[in-house]
Symmetry: C2
Subunit: 200 residues, 2 copies
DNA sequence: CCGACAGTTGACCGATCAGTCAACTTTCCC
DNA sequence: GGGAAAGTTGACTGATCGGTCAACTGTCGG
C-alpha cells in the first residue's frame, strides 16, 4: 500500500494542478481526491512544495514518454519533431476535453510557477529543460549528418530555440483556449532549422 | 486624491505581483505597500481579480510604451524588432536587480495565470496579445514592401510566431534567472522571417 | 507470538486570506 | 455654509490553508 498511496497522491494532484496551478490547489483538495488524509500526504511529502516537485517530476516522466515515442528513429529526424508537436497537441486537446479549458504546457506552466519558489525549484526546472532539449539536439545533429539542414548550425542553440518556440505556442494555446494553436508551431520550427517547409 | 490612490494601488500591486504571481500577493500586502486600508482597495476594485485585471492593463500600457519607442520608424523595420528585444531584455534586467530574481514576461506570466480564471480574463489576455502582434505585423509588412523579407509570408501569422518565440524565451529567462536569455531570441526571430542574420 | 515500524487516521492549530461594514473625514458643488 | 457624494478608516468575519500530532492499524521479520 505504501508506494501505491504515494503514487495515487501524485497522480491525483497532477490532474488537479494541471487544470489550474499549484497555488490554486489545496492539500485538502488533493487529499479528498486521492481518498487519503492530511497525515498521509505529509507522511510522504515534507511540504506542499515537495509535492509540487514530485508533480513536476511526474509531468516530466510523462512528457519523456511522449518524447521517446515521437523521436523513435523509424522516420527522419525532422519528421520526428513534427510528430512530437502532433502528440503534444493531442495531449493538450485531450486535457481540454477532460477539464473544459486548454491548459498550458504541463511542464512550462508549473515550471514558471515553481521557478519563483527559490533556487532549488529553479534547478529542477532547468534540469528538465535540459532533458527536453536533448531530444531536439540529437535529431538536429542527425539532420545535419543527413544534409537536411545547414551543418553550420549549433545544435544546442537550435534545440533551445525550438523548445522556446514550442513553449511560446503552448502559452498561445492556453490563451486562446485552442490546442490547435500548438500545431501552428510547426512551420516556425522548420524555419528555425533553416529546413524546407515540408517532407523530411 | 481619488485617482491618485487608485493609481498608487495599481502601481504598487504591479510591482509586487511581477516578482511573484497574483495568487502569491495578498490584498493586505498591497494595502500595506500602498499605505492604504482594505476598505480603500475594495472601494476602487470589486474583487482581487478586478485588481489583477487592472494590473494586466497597466502592464500592457507600459509594454505599449516600450513598443512605441522601439518601433519608431527612425530605423528599418527589422532593426526595430531587434531594438524592441533589447529594450525588453533591459527591462527584465532592471527588474532582476530590483527583485533579486528574473521575472518572466510581465504580460505573459500574469496572462498565463489569469487565463485560467475564466473567459473574461482570457478575453482580456487575447486582446492584449492582439495589440502586441499589431506592432510586429506593421513592421513585417513594411519589411515586405522594402523587399527585406519574402513578400509571400503572411504578416499576421509571422507576427504571431514572433510573439510566441519571444514569450518562450522570456520563460527561459525566468527559468535560468538570466535576462540575457531573452536577447538570444534575436537570431531566431530573423530566421522566422526568412531574413538575413544581420543588418536591416 | 512479539516487537518494530511503515502507513493511516482525524482532530486540531495558528496563520492568513478575501471581502464586509458602519462610522468617520474630506472634497466639492449649489 | 450646508449637504451630498467620494474617499478613508480599522476592526471584524467566516472560510481556508499548510502543517502538526498522538494515537491507531496493519504487516512482516524473528
Amino acid at each position: 500500500m505504501a508506494k501505491d498511496t504515494r503514487e495515487r497522491i501524485v497522480t491525483v494532484a497532477r490532474d488537479l494542478v494541471h487544470g489550474a496551478s499549484l497555488a490554486q490547489v489545496s492539500t485538502e483538495d488533493v487529499c479528498k481526491a486521492a481518498g487519503v488524509h492530511k497525515g498521509s500526504l505529509y507522511h510522504f511529502f515534507p511540504s506542499k512544495n515537495a509535492l509540487g516537485a514530485a508533480i513536476l517530476d511526474r509531468n516530466w516522466d510523462l512528457m519523456n514518454a511522449v518524447l521517446q515515442e515521437a523521436f523513435a528513429d523509424d522516420v527522419g529526424p525532422l519528421a520526428r519533431i513534427d510528430r512530437f508537436v502532433d502528440s503534444f497537441a493531442e495531449l493538450l486537446a485531450g486535457m481540454r476535453q477532460r477539464m473544459g479549458a486548454t491548459p498550458g504546457c504541463p511542464l512550462g506552466g508549473l515550471a514558471a510557477e515553481m521557478a519563483g519558489y527559490g533556487d532549488d525549484a529553479r534547478t529542477q526546472v532547468t534540469r528538465i529543460l535540459a532533458g527536453w532539449t536533448r531530444y531536439f539536439t540529437a535529431a538536429i545533429n542527425e539532420a545535419k549528418d543527413r544534409g537536411e539542414i545547414d551543418p553550420g548550425v549549433d545544435a544546442g542553440e537550435a534545440a533551445m530555440r525550438l523548445l522556446a518556440h514550442l513553449q511560446g505556442h503552448a502559452l498561445m494555446a492556453k490563451a486562446y483556449d485552442d490546442p490547435e494553436a500548438l500545431r501552428r508551431a510547426k512551420p516556425g520550427l522548420r524555419m528555425l532549422l533553416g529546413a524546407g517547409p515540408a517532407g523530411g
